[in-house]
Amino acid sequence: MNIEISEIALHVLLQGCIYSLVVMGVYLSSRVIQFDDLTTEGSFGFGGAIAAVVILWGGPIWLALVLSLIGGAAAGSLTGILHTKMKMNNLICGLIVTTALFSVCLKLAGANVSLHEKHSLLWIQDNLFIAGAFLLALAGIAYFGIRTLLRSEIGLILKAVGSNPQMAVSLGKSVDGYKIFGLSTANALTALAGSLFVQWNGFFSITGNIGTLVIGLTGLILGEMIKPSFGIGLLLGAIIYQAIFAVVIELELQPLWNNLIKAALIVVLIQLKPKINPLTVAIAR
């Protein structure tokens, strides 16, 4: 029993690490540049499809990860270009890119693909701890990378672009360019998570990305309840979400209720969350 619990805890932790990348991506798009981005859903699947193709082809893990990052960045840029250059509504842009990526993923990887015939560090259960260390390190690198970005001069401008675009223009900065950059970074992170998710499970499914945005948002809300600005809270939020879901699974409800529970959970959490005043965020920082 004890072994089982510790194993579940480890899975919660590592799955949380994977989804923390999504949470950070959602933070970048929805909180920093203040762009509600539905591309998250598509780029998670796209990253997974790229990973499946690379691994089945016999490519190394790093190549799968790098190509997923690039693929996600491209998807985010596309959304950004549709929004800024073709003046389309942000929700529609994300929806379009996600819809288009569905076909691309299907063509690339197929509907359901098992990777188990190939060897990869990430799903050999003997190496669970090595794989765990790898995932933790990756989440840590992403966290410190984004933290550095947000505290840098570029980060200040990204925040200005989100909260006061007129000011960014007055500074002579390209609002369009920074928005595209923000979206491509956010979706690169999400696609990386998708890539890790597929490699961790050893399986790609075309429907595996459904609900990614809800998971990301819920993790973000949980994280902001811990600390209302960019911080380690976002990682914890992603892990707590996985823990909540592990409990749900332990309750042995029929899996068909999963998405309903996810949806209900986010409603409950938003009600529980203290209303965040952006000023207190700035002070907390």
Binding site: S152, M167, S170, G172, K173, P278, I283
Partner: protein, 247 residues
Amino acid sequence: MLKLKNISKTFNGIEVLKNLSCEVASDDFVMIMGPNGAGKSTLFDVISGKTIPDRGSLFIDGQDLSAVPERKRAKIVGRLFQNTYLGSCSILTIRENLALANLKERRASLTLGVKKFPEEVVEELLKPLHLDKLLNIPMGALSGGQRQIVSFIMATLNPPKILLLDEPTAALDPDSAVQLLSFAKDYSKKYRIPTLLITHDPVVAKHLGNRLWILKNGSIDREYGMEKSSMEPHEFFHPIIYEKLGG
């Protein structure tokens, strides 16, 4: 020096600016008055590049800027808005905002955002305004008057070639308004920056600048020259307001 030649702009069939021409010299402090819809803000939008005119040309210091977009005029035009939230980023602190304003001159990098913070501004400008203790407070938590004066400092951190003040005191209390207007007047004089100020306050219009334009139906309807603009804002503004209030 600013020169506009036959500027016209039409929005949805309505001609907002009609053949507007004017010249502003570097010593000029121009007051602009006019009813709503006269084209005052559109005139500022044209000068700052937010709006590109349908016809006409615009020169600043002899440089033709007619087709240069707003973003590329950032170093040339400093602008302050009526909305005190527009000049700065509310969620960032004063320190971060000033660091941002300092980024006007160069490309942003991955170095720490507040590293190249203009420290000299604290002693020279913020201390006399009692804002030096509030450096780490987000802009959104300041009063409208404080926010507007920091916005002014930000817009003029690197002296622009022309300064546009779009009803900057409309949302401020009399004390803050006087403070901001004195600040603006001193700055404009010290650095010899041609300044244009839109106002609905006849007292300000009469006493603050050396020229007064009345805008009507998209062109300068009348112009008055005020040879001596010897009065300081606190001299004309304060007593009148408080007398009216009986204070």
